[in-house]
Subunit: 263 residues, 2 copies
DNA sequence: AATTTTTGTTCCGCAATGCGAAACTGCAGT
DNA sequence: ACTGCAGTTTCGCATTGCGGAACAAAAATT
């Protein structure tokens, strides 16, 4: 084995702790943490001390459990402050939410998931909980389908291979079924999701795209099922597409391709 | 010199890069970055490679400028997923936004600033832009005054010493003036901010507190100045205090003190 | 109260790992 | 072609992080 990367392995290991804490639904004790990462306790202790000193994690004083700190949120949210996508979509999203009362969300692709980075408009829906930073699987979201529609066949297949969980009865888990769906998405230039992730809601999504229809981000709107009908879908679809188109223009063609090149 | 901390210095230096990128309003070139941190270019390069490998930063492909990645947002937002404060305040905030249409925000204390971690309700106001993760000075926000009101005199003094910038004509920069203000805040159990940060808006805030009135977080509501009058203030103040009280109860007394102990 | 078990912290010698000066590459603009 | 400037790679040195093991403190069990 030869040196393959110039990255600092000790630091990478430390960042693994952050990832773990972000992924786990709740706080972790020191021992759990060391066990989960399969790291000697002495080393894990050093990693935690380091992150504590950087103020990225804190520990619950009585259980001594570790969790992410509010400062970590601040650091991560720096992404929003820099994101041209966020800026470009901001006003179109608000306009959409005014036209159609519902939950309007902005999603980007992060490690094989849709990551929602912004949300406007309120519906007492449970999915609105912790909406910024929420990650959802590609196969079970309208936004995800937009991203899948822009991918190569082998990418779609490899991703779908990992999407086996059925969130509701209508979650798409079959590759062939998904390919049909994606063909429709490409034709209609928007994606639909009716109770495939959350019962009682339907969602339409449209991509913020470059001229080749590859999506850098997605604008979606979630509505209660009681509000669903074919005519309603047509209306909403047009408005969602319009919002996405405005965001695309705002970003500019160069903006989009740069965003895409970053992957 | 003796070993003073057990933290990993190389990693801390790497995390400084993240801090810098979070703080700077825009993307940074590699040289700027190295210069800003006063680090040899070879080392800075290693740090960036490491963060790239961890997917916490990305580089703009044509300018090669570095910026935070969307994955960094995901990691940081893990704080929200774990935060009992966020959970406890979620529904009271929505209720408040329904009662009074305006921007309802949830703030915590982060390194001498108010950090807004959640926001509901729309007003086309500029402060709503990138509201999650936004940091504001303590002296110029209603939320900040709530935190200041729970601090010792010397803490207030040392913080005020750094608060010299005047955002508007009425920004409080004098320590004595602030002490008067804080006395009122303690008495009224809510804080007011009329055009001290943003012209055209007024804000009321109430703390999510423990029995000793020390705030673990703050709920605030921002309204257009056209909506201001003494009677209106009384109405809004009661509702903001009520929302904060509900959140306090939801969190539970133990929850609050634990949150406080974490500092 | 005495015990075992579990969990968190510190020590310490070894060598792996990160360090930074300097050399090198590639790209713009004379 | 030449000069700068921005970014990347090399390389020998010693600093720094490593982890087994011993230690301390707190729960859980007897």
């Amino acid at each position: 084995m030869k040196k393959v990367s110039t990255a600092m392995s000790s630091t990478l290991r430390c960042l693994k702790v952050l990832e773990l804490l972000a992924e786990e639904p709740f706080e972790l004790s020191f021992s759990e943490l060391a066990a989960r990462l399969d790291i000697p306790k002495a080393s894990a202790h050093r990693l935690c001390t380091t992150l504590l000193e950087a103020d990225l994690i804190k520990q619950e004083p009585v259980t001594r459990h570790y969790m992410l700190s509010s400062h970590a949120l601040w650091v991560g949210s720096g992404y929003l402050r820099h994101s041209p996508l966020y800026r470009a979509a901001f006003f179109p999203m608000q306009e959409l939410a005014r036209q159609i009362p519902g939950t309007v969300q902005l999603g980007v692709l992060d490690q094989g998931y849709v990551l929602f980075i912004h949300s406007v408009g309120y519906s007492g829906a449970p999915h609105a909980f912790a909406d910024v930073g929420l990650r959802r699987p590609l196969n079970a979201t309208a936004s995800g389908k937009i991203f899948l529609a822009g991918m190569s066949t082998q990418d779609v297949e490899s991703i779908m291979a990992k999407c086996t969980e059925k969130y509701t009865g209508s979650t798409i888990t079959s590759v062939t079924r998904m390919k049909q769906e994606l063909a429709e998405v490409k034709k209609a230039r928007y994606a639909r999701n009716v109770e495939e992730l959350l019962p009682g809601y339907w969602v339409l999504a449209a991509g913020i795209v470059d001229p080749e229809d590859r999506a850098a981000a997605v604008i979606s709107i979630t509505l209660p099922l009681s509000d669903f009908s074919p005519e309603r879908e047509a209306t909403v679809a047009d408005l969602v597409k319009e919002a996405a188109r405005k965001a695309s223009l705002q970003l500019g063609p160069s903006g989009i391709s740069r965003a895409l090149l970053q992957r």
